[in-house]
């Protein structure tokens, strides 16, 4: 016995009653109070079988294991580098997780990553005290040269990437820019300046209209109006970076 009081895929607010009865289980973002399941944050209600989930629409990035993100070097220490990753916590990349090359003791670590360098990194661990460990050993993890970084709402990243990377591929093909999307909301774009601007506008458009349907068509229309007909290569296989 139990019934859903709110339709799936509607926006729910904290304290709103979502379901009644003992049939449903509160998952992330929802909690049980007596006979009801209430929303524990502002977000989109998604049902996963009997689990009630709330997908956030806003909120700063919270670091998660295995996320591939873009960070900026803010400190060089004896054994590694400290990164700013667009959230309340900084992250540490230690020497042994940075490269398989031999690094002599006391070597100048700025040769590898210097202050203000932007690097594609992967989170290997997040402790309960939110200490974050990174690695650059892995496909697609590297220092970024040139280009520019744009910050977006990290909750919109899945939409910007699209199913199997379809949305970001659309932008890459239309503008000819290299694009890497970090899960923390940092996006790296490298191409001709005027194409970079078009790519950024397309990304902002997706960010603002992510909850309206027909987005892919609108983005295609927008890109075609700015760049001409888009040539989609025959079979697009997804490079690791975007995931």
């Amino acid at each position: 016995m139990g019934n859903l009081l709110v339709e799936e895929r509607t926006v729910v607010v904290p304290g709103e009653k979502i379901a009644e009865g003992l049939d449903y289980l509160p998952a992330n973002g929802a909690y049980r109070k007596d006979d009801f399941i209430l929303a524990g944050r502002l977000g989109l209600l998604i049902m996963d079988g009997r689990a009630v989930k709330i997908i956030p629409l806003s909120g700063r990035y919270m670091p998660k294991r295995n996320d591939v993100i873009i960070g900026k070097v803010i400190d060089v220490t004896i054994s590694g580098w400290r990164f700013e990753i667009n959230c309340a916590y900084s992250a540490m990349l230690s020497m042994k997780d940075a490269t398989s090359d031999f690094i002599a003791r006391g070597a100048d670590l700025t040769q590898f990553f210097n202050l203000d360098d932007m690097v594609v990194v992967k989170i290997v661990n997040v402790t309960s005290q939110k200490l974050v460990d990174l690695t650059t050993k892995g496909p697609g993890l590297r220092k970024l040269y040139g280009g520019r970084i744009v910050l977006v709402n990290c909750n919109k990243v899945p939409r910007i990437i699209g199913k199997q990377g379809s949305m970001v591929s659309l932008i890459k093909n239309a503008t000819g820019c290299k694009i890497i999307v970090g899960q923390n909301g940092a996006i790296w774009i490298d191409g001709e300046p005027k194409n970079e601007v078009i790519a950024i506008e397309a990304i902002r458009k997706i960010e603002q209209e992510s909850h309206i349907s027909g987005l892919t068509d609108r983005v295609t229309e927008y890109l075609e109006s700015k760049c001409g007909k888009i040539q989609m290569p025959a079979q697009e296989e997804q490079p690791q970076e975007e995931q």
Binding site: P14, L57, G59, K130, H211
Partner: protein, 238 residues
Amino acid sequence: MAYTKRLDGRKQKEFRQITAKAGVIKNADGSAYFKIGNTVAYAAVYGPRELHPKFMQDPSTGILRCNYNMMPFAGMGNRVRPGQNRRAKEISMVTQKALLPVVDLKEFPNAVIDVFVELPQTDAGSRCAGICAASIALADAGIPMKDLVSAVSVGTVDGTIVVDLDYGEEAYDGSVADIPIAYIPSTEEISLLQMDGEITKETLLEALEIGKIAWHEIIEIQKNALKEKYKVSGEENE
């Protein structure tokens, strides 16, 4: 002479007209605008973010830091010196205590959630308007919260119980009790209760019952402000 007709013609239990909007300050992580009668409050939430000074960091939980400020031109005509005064410091503290029971900060050790409440125009009920705005702003910022917090003052003017006292009633030439209250609807708990004046216990309990109806109505307005922000021809995210 008993106070039967309110100064602005409102009914006894009627609160002033409310306009509430979410997401009005683009730079903030969450924000809200809350106008009740002539009292206007803006709230901006930043966080969770790194907490400085470091000695304030708490490794077991995040902290909520509230800052209430009335702008120099907000009051009745005379310009007040800008900056925090004792009253503002106290209101900042009670705002923080009013909001703390609903937010879940265990997810953010060593971090801070900053709430700024600014009022460009006031006509009494400013701390309540600030709490209502701050609630909406915290939800807008995606902070995990059990519920929103609703707030409005109740009180008596010359023996008559009223809801939402405006400046004229607070300053009324007669016996006045002004009681700002913040309320959490899902648990029916009161997270702020202050009083200015004199009231009997029975009258206070009666006023609280009358207030409950108002708080439940106001929370609906706050919830709608959040939903309005995301309402577009009924379509969904992803």
